[in-house]
Amino acid sequence: MRSYVQGPASVDESSQLPLWRRAETMDLVYVGYGLLVVALVLASYLLGALGWLPHDPQAMNVGLINAAPFTPGHLLGTDFLGRDLQARLILGIQAYFLPGLLAITISVVAGSVLGILAGYRGGWSDTIITYFDNLLDSFPRLVLILLVIASFKPDIYYVMVVVGITGMPVIANLIAGKIAFLRQTNFIEAAHALGLPAHTVILKHILWFNCRAALVIQATLGMAEAILVETSLSYLGFGVQEPTPSWGNMVQAGANYFLQGNFWPSTAPALAILATILGFQLLGDGLNNLLEGKRGK
């Protein structure tokens, strides 16, 4: 049984219901959770940057190694050297936060430029950019990153440049698609016919009015990607090195004790990764459903 209830009949159509009341509950749950995660990450990043941590993340307490959560004094327990996990988790955000922003910036800015060239100019540029996108999509991202690491050096910023560049095609396709849609309804042609200059059409109408939501969504999903890459690399030993904490190397460091039954030191950062990536992904998908219309429509 589903019910459909007539609301107070609104004669004035301009009084549209606010977004959150029109939305489906699941989408609101997704976005709500996502925003919570973003807020936590942001706050933790700032705490870490300012050094306001509950404990010294490097202080070892050999008497209290691999402590369980809720141990007095260590809310989230300790690792194999007796270091406070909560402090290290908060500090671990430093490893991906700024590099992730770099990757997002590269893919959003460069992807937008390519998308506009492909969609707005069309013709030659469209063909070439399509090929370029296909080319970038040919490489498994991690393999390309390993190639760069082997050839240059294992630097997270190098890696994030690669992540940013390989993230461009998605954005470019998205924007080219939006432009194609606007073209279909003769929107762009009508703007030209009126005499609006190209830069107004591109910046104001295309990017600002019609792509901003999609770009925010893609940036959100991009952050999830960046976290995935950073933690994977740290796990593989190419990212942040001990004793500086990163969620990836924390999982790796705890792994040796994992098989002996000490799950927590490895599981705590893994759950942090899980919760955060999930948060960014659900935020992206939820926003997509809210702002860009439900899937399929």
Binding site: M1, R2, S3, Y4, V5, Q6, G7, A9, S10, V11, E13, Q16, L17, R21, R22
Partner: protein, 369 residues
């Protein structure tokens, strides 16, 4: 009049606007009868509910809540049943002042029930053609394969080769030239008119009792439209098929329909024999029908380069359905004597002449009801 082949009684099909948190009263108490062998034309503008009525009859409404009330009685030789039988078990409505304010529907339950009711009816007894034939045919399959599928599903012809011959015969009957070549064509690369012919062939090849033609000429070029109308007229003579024809184009209805129902805002406002409803000198006509006919440029208007008689205002929004007559806001024939009625009470569909009914307070017959 014969017992109707299809009798729709008090059909209600509602949708729901999430954006406005409101019920869309697309079809709001429609009753129609189609006698065997006749063509009933439903004419109306967008939002009048004419297409939704047709889709409801074929059980093809996909949005929720969909059909919430009424009867659709089919009385063909093979199947006699109410296609909405037992609907009330799946739907609960809450009314206030005679107006439905909330609907509860077990959509999945009803869907399952409706599918059993429709078994052996949809496609077999009731065939349908749609507007935009190029997108209505499966682009991934040849014209021939789509016809053969229908023939093998619904007729006694089951063999592949036999069905193929039958399909080619049908392509000939809808006057597609070189049908043997067209048989292997995909809809892509065929003109809209050709696709509509194939569509008609496919619908009729099931040898149905009732053909529902939903805007069969919309989206086609003027010259092609006229050919399709010719074809439908001729097939009607050849096969004598009962047809429910839906169109916004009065001229199409005029050419093909024996009887007409004019719809506005989810209800039938006028129904009667085509010749009577559309007769140039008709007096007892719904103001909407009259205005609709007048808004098409007449030869006289063109010669004198005069203004068109437009109906002021916008097409009724079936969310904000007024309490009184649905056409009241745009009507130019409201008199002081009936104004109060028009504004507050929905007029009934009253008989103004034998077989001719009009939903308007102007006519005394309505007053009696």
């Amino acid at each position: 009049m014969d017992a109707p082949l299809l009798a729709i009684e008090n059909l209600r099909t509602y949708f729901y606007s999430r954006a406005r948190r409101a019920l869309i009263r697309s079809v709001d108490g429609v009753s129609l009868h189609v006698a065997p062998g006749e063509t009933l034309g439903i004419v109306g503008e967008s939002g009048s509910g004419k297409s939704v009525t047709a889709l409801s009859a074929a059980g093809l409404v996909s949005a929720a809540p969909g059909v919430i009330g009424g009867r659709i009685e089919l009385r063909s030789r093979q199947a006699r049943r109410n296609l909405l039988d037992g609907l009330e078990r799946y739907v609960r409505v809450k009314e206030r002042d005679g107006r439905i304010m909330a609907v509860e529907k077990d959509d999945r339950g009803w869907r399952r029930r409706a599918e059993t009711l429709m078994k052996g009816v949809r496609g077999k007894e009731i065939a349908m053609i749609f507007q935009n034939p190029r997108s209505a045919l499966n682009p991934y399959s040849t014209i021939g394969a789509q016809l053969v599928e229908t023939i093998r599903l619904h007729t006694s012809v089951k063999g592949e080769g036999e069905a193929r011959e039958r399909a080619i015969q049908w392509l000939e009957r809808v006057r597609i030239d070189s049908p043997r070549l067209r048989f292997d064509n995909f809809p892509f690369g065929m003109s809209g008119g050709m696709c509509q012919r194939a569509m008609i062939a496919m619908a009729l090849s099931a040898e149905p009792s009732l053909l529902i033609a939903d805007e069969p000429t919309t989206g086609l070029d003027a010259t092609i439209q006229s050919r399709i109308v010719d074809l439908l007229a001729q097939l009607k003579i050849e096969t004598g098929i009962t047809t429910l024809l839906i169109s916004h184009d009065i001229s199409v209805i005029q050419r093909l329909a024996d009887r007409i129902a004019v719809m506005y805002g989810g209800t039938v406002v006028e129904t009667g024999r085509a010749a009577e409803v559309l007769a140039p000198q008709a007096q007892l006509r719904h103001p909407y029908t009259a205005a609709l006919l007048a808004s098409v440029p007449s030869a006289e208007a063109i010669r004198r380069k005069s203004y068109l008689q437009a109906i002021e205002g916008e097409v009724l929004d079936t969310i904000d359905v007024p309490r009184g007559c649905r056409f009241y806001g745009r009507c130019n024939r409201v008199t002081e004597a009936i104004r109060e009625n028009c504004a507050s009470l929905e007029p009934p569909l009253g008989e103004v002449a034998p077989g001719h009914k009009v939903r308007c307070w102007l006519y005394p017959a309505s007053g009696k009801a």
